[in-house]
């Protein structure tokens, strides 16, 4: 039997320890997400210059594929894949969806990220707000937010493979509700955006 006195002496220490651990791990996730973006954006720049796939660190199991700017926020480097490992460091591109400028151009681009790190800003997007996406070719493409939808991940899948013309060009996915305490909720927040002609090309068309 543990003596009550001893328990009382250790319990506060234990609780504080557990509290610090929780605090630390939560903060670490956030820190990792922010710091990794610096490293990744570096490898993205190198990749743009060299044209070859650069892994942000040698043992990484993902690599940057695009850069994404929501509204006028700081650009985020998008990683390949939506595995937990990739999403910890940045928004992830669905393996099966296409990027504008790649050979399978007619497919929708689908990008997912954590609602409490990189896609915190998703809730503040409003229709007609601009989204910029830089592909591997270095060109920035403009998108315009169409709207948002809350979907239940248990019933149905991403509306990404509809016939051409019926789906938006870009879908951003994150968890919903934004301030939920637990991580495993079934709801997802989808932002749809359509390709907006660049202002430069607009000009040419008008001329």
């Amino acid at each position: 039997m543990i003596s009550l006195g001893k328990l009382m002496r250790w319990l506060p220490a234990l609780l504080i320890g557990a509290g610090l651990w929780q605090l630390g791990s939560g903060t670490w996730v956030l820190l990792k997400a922010e710091l990794a973006q610096y490293l990744i954006s570096d490898s993205w720049q190198r990749q743009l210059v060299s044209g070859e796939v650069h892994k942000p660190w040698p043992w990484a199991d993902t690599w940057p594929v695009a850069q994404l700017q929501l509204g006028d926020e700081k650009p985020l480097v998008v990683l390949q894949g939506i595995s937990g490992q990739a999403l910890a460091f940045g928004p992830g591109l669905y393996e099966t969806s296409g990027l504008p400028g790649s050979s399978t151009a007619q497919t929708t681009t689908v990008i997912a990220a954590h609602r409490d790190t990189h896609f915190r800003g998703l809730r503040s997007l409003r229709p007609n707000m601009p989204i910029q996406l830089q592909g591997r070719d270095g060109r920035w493409r403009s998108f315009r937010v169409l709207g948002a939808q809350v979907a239940d991940s248990r019933s149905g899948t991403l509306p990404a493979f509809a016939q051409a013309g019926d789906v938006p060009d870009l879908i951003l996915v994150t968890c919903y509700p934004f301030d939920a305490l637990d991580a495993g909720g079934p709801l997802r927040y989808l932002v749809y955006a359509e390709s907006a002609p660049d202002t430069a090309t607009d000009h040419i068309v008008e001329l």
Partner: protein, 775 residues
């Protein structure tokens, strides 16, 4: 103020017991602590209530589709979701083309002749091209394709792959009805039909032949109807690729799977397809082997069968049609008295004087429970995302069963892999009860997620058993997977190079496993394979595998063809056989020798448990089928497979300019026998154009159904929350609680003691020493 004034009766001061300072201090402190505790308890209760309420709320909102509240939250738009989809219900993809399949199977001798008719009906208002990824059995010899428009039939022809593509493309642009069938993998084809008018239905009929499987006295036949999405290892190839005909695949070509976009179709849940009335399959089987059967059953479907004269059986599905979301399998067992020990069928070639022979021979079986040799077994289990759902349960169950089968003399290890691999022990350990128990606990905790990086795991499994100890340790690797990978060739090569003394057995898991991978990996691994499609099957199938693992095998198999006749038989080298497996051969004889008195005999010899055996089969009494075309096709198919193996061993030349002599051989053979192959495709074109040039043609993928019991892979939602807020809140609470407890430790302890004293019976009187120890 006319309130009455009461005076307390005066009490003499010395009669009074007034509270001391200590009393006030205690009372004060108790109250403070109590209120703090109350606050904490309330806070925690509120937190839990909030969490619970939220969970409940989510459930409610989840079940009710798009709750009104959610529309208004977030972006202040007006029901934007509906505007986005003209197809009606949001988030639902409605396929433009519906698919129906009718299968007619005729079993004669050791061959199944399958006619697969697929109707593509265009439900849209546009002219359509349908693109469908067609799964077929891994040993199918595809020898016919026709388009059927109403009553008209347009017969397809075999052409060199590029040429067939060109013909098809031109016909498509010209508005002619056309169909193209290309082989991507031995068990995966792409079927395209161009220029289906709005509302029209066009059927494509594909004919193939298939060897029956015979194992442990049981014949079987498997017909896949969908596939498990393959994992494509490697880095996407960015360089400009030769743009294929019509990229409907979702995976980008990678450096390890250059045709990834060709073999990764759109997948849709079966229930959504069924709502559209699409993806239904009808099956009819005419089973006429000429043997009285004891037992016919299908493990995944309900069937009805009727026995007809001459030991023929007519088999149908109990329901009219079934969803195309799992393999169809049929097993039948001849009556014990009619169990064949050998079977031979011969057929005359239609074009020249050659004859084809198909042979099945059951070697002596020996004693089932002979001496069990100590084994060293490495179990490799696939825990990738494609195994999610029922598959991982089947895999775990199989593995647990396998672990329970080990005994003290054996050594074992377990490896799990997805994007990475993890070994339970660094090296195989003795199968002591403790080690097995630890393995069981570990296996129970496995989860399916991530990619399927099979190569590193295979390498590790094959290099685990490097121990130099001589002796009679039988080395085995048991590989439990659904084979959902796109880089099969690289894996076969790896097995071939690193196998050494090991034997590799595959256990195929799931409703639509990659049978090509299972059989070929087992062939290269000099092992055997079983397929488990249902949790109920685990016990019986694994038991069959254990019998094979633990029984002596038939080795040194040699076949001696009669002298003086030119014979080309396949497989070239007979594999070692496990218990219950037969010798299966197809051969081509030159010069009309079969069935005549001078044909001589074929001699098959081998060794079982140290004893040599010889079987002679006379070829002179054979009846040669004049009209058949089956065995010839199968022979050509076997030869192509052998040539492909050779090609794989040499390493495929990536240089397109250098002519590969093996490629020429395969091409020639496929054209001669009118077979689909890696280098030949079927193409059918109607001569008159039907689509006016002014009308555009849309190209639509026909989805494949997500296999039964599987979690849909590519387009499921990821987990997109870390739960940082929850963690922080928990941290704050814990810290606050800890800090308070620290500060008020004495008081809390005292109170707790007092409370415990009230609640617990007082033991002090009876058990003084113990109480002292407590204090």
């Amino acid at each position: 103020m006319n309130r009455p004034f009461f005076h307390a009766p005066r009490i003499q001061r010395d009669l009074l017991i007034l509270p001391t300072e200590e009393y006030y201090r205690r009372r004060y402190r108790k109250n403070r602590t109590g209120s703090w505790l109350l606050l904490l308890v309330t806070a925690i209760a509120v937190l839990f209530a909030a969490l619970g309420a939220k969970a409940q709320e989510l459930e409610i909102e989840g079940s009710a589709e798009r709750g009104a509240e959610f529309e208004s939250v977030g972006i202040n738009d007006t029901g934007s979701g509906d505007l986005l989809f003209q197809t009606g219900e949001q988030g639902r993809y409605i396929p433009a083309i519906h698919l129906g399949t009718e299968v007619d199977i005729k079993v004669r001798g050791l061959v199944a002749e399958v006619t697969l008719q697929q109707q593509f009906s265009n439900t849209s208002n546009d002219w359509q091209e349908a693109v469908y990824v067609l799964p077929l059995p891994e040993n199918a010899a595809v020898n016919g394709m026709e388009i059927m428009v109403g009553e008209r039939r347009i017969v397809g022809e075999v052409r060199e792959r590029q040429q067939a593509q060109k013909i098809y493309k031109e016909a498509r642009e010209a508005g002619k009805r056309a169909a193209l069938l290309e082989q991507q993998r031995p068990n995966l084809f792409t079927s395209r039909v161009a220029n289906i008018a709005p509302g029209e239905k066009i059927a494509v009929e594909i004919r193939y032949l298939q060897n029956l499987r015979f194992d442990s006295g049981q014949f079987s036949l498997r017909l896949p109807s969908t596939l498990t999405p393959r994992y494509m290892p490697g880095v996407p190839v960015v360089a400009e690729q030769q743009v294929s005909l019509n990229p409907h695949g979702w995976s980008l070509p990678t450096d390890q799977v250059p045709d990834a976009d060709q073999i990764s179709p759109v997948m849709m849940p079966m229930n959504e397809l069924a709502e559209q009335g699409s993806h239904q399959m009808k099956i009819h089987i005419d089973l006429g082997m000429g043997l009285p059967l004891a037992d016919i059953y299908s493990p995944y479907h309900e069937i009805d069968f009727r026995s007809e004269s001459d030991h023929r059986y007519n088999i149908r599905l109990k329901q009219d049609s079934v969803p195309m979301d799992r393999d169809f399998a049929l097993y039948w067992r001849p009556q014990a008295s009619a169990m064949p020990a050998a079977a031979m069928f011969a057929e005359q070639s239609a074009t020249d004087s050659s004859q084809y022979l198909q042979l099945l021979l059951l070697p002596p079986q020996g004693d089932a429970h002979s001496r069990k040799l100590p084994r060293e077994v490495v179990y490799v289990v696939d825990t990738s995302g494609s195994m999610g759902g029922n598959s991982i349960r089947q895999a775990k169950e199989s593995l647990l069963l396998a672990l329970s089968r080990l005994d003290g003399m054996d050594r074992f290890n377990v490896i799990e892999f997805n994007s990475d691999y993890y070994t339970l022990y660094p090296r195989p350990l003795a199968a002591t009860p403790e080690n097995i128990q630890r393995a069981r606990d570990w296996v129970e905790s496995l989860d399916a997620r991530g990619g399927t990086e099979m190569a590193p795991a295979l390498k590790e499994a094959l290099s685990q058993q490097l121990s130099d100890e001589p002796g009679e340790l039988v080395r085995q690797v048991i590989f439990i997977t659904d084979g959902a990978v796109g880089n099969e060739n690289a894996l076969f090569e790896l097995i071939r190079q690193r196998l050494g003394e090991v034997r590799l057995f595959t256990v195929g898991i799931g409703s639509a496993p990659n049978s090509f991978f299972m059989t070929k990996a087992a062939q290269y691994g000099r092992g055997s394979f079983v397929q488990i499609g249902d949790l109920n099957e685990v016990q019986s199938k694994m038991a069959a595998l254990f019998t094979k693992l633990e029984s002596p095998l038939v080795t040194d198999l040699q076949v001696q063809w009669p002298q003086g006749i030119k014979v080309e038989g396949y497989p070239r080298r007979l594999p070692d056989l496990y218990r219950g497996e037969p010798v299966q051969l197809v051969a081509r004889f030159d010069g009309n020798a079969l069935g005549h008195s001078g044909a001589g005999e074929v001699r098959i010899s081998g060794r079982l448990a140290g004893k040599r055996f010889i079987r002679n089969l006379s070829l002179s009494q054979l009846t040669v089928d004049i009209s058949g075309k089956g065995i010839g096709s199968l022979w050509a198919r076997e030869k192509i497979a052998a040539l492909r193996d050779e090609q794989r061993e040499r390493g495929q030349s990536t240089d397109q300019d250098v002519e590969d002599p093996l490629r020429q051989q395969i091409l020639h053979l496929a054209l001669e026998h009118q077979l689909a192959s890696p280098y030949t495709s079927f193409v059918a074109v109607e001569q008159t154009p039907v689509r006016p040039v002014s009308e555009p043609l849309k190209s639509s993928p026909v989805p494949n159904a997500v296999a039964h019991g599987q979690v849909q892979q590519p387009f499921t939602y990821p987990a997109t929350a870390n739960g940082i807020y929850g963690q922080w809140l928990l941290a704050t609470l814990l810290l606050a609680l800890g800090g308070l407890l620290r500060k008020w430790r004495g008081a809390v302890e005292r109170n707790l003691r007092r409370w415990l004293r009230g609640v617990l019976p007082d033991l002090r009187g009876r058990n003084v020493p113990r109480q002292e120890r407590v204090q």
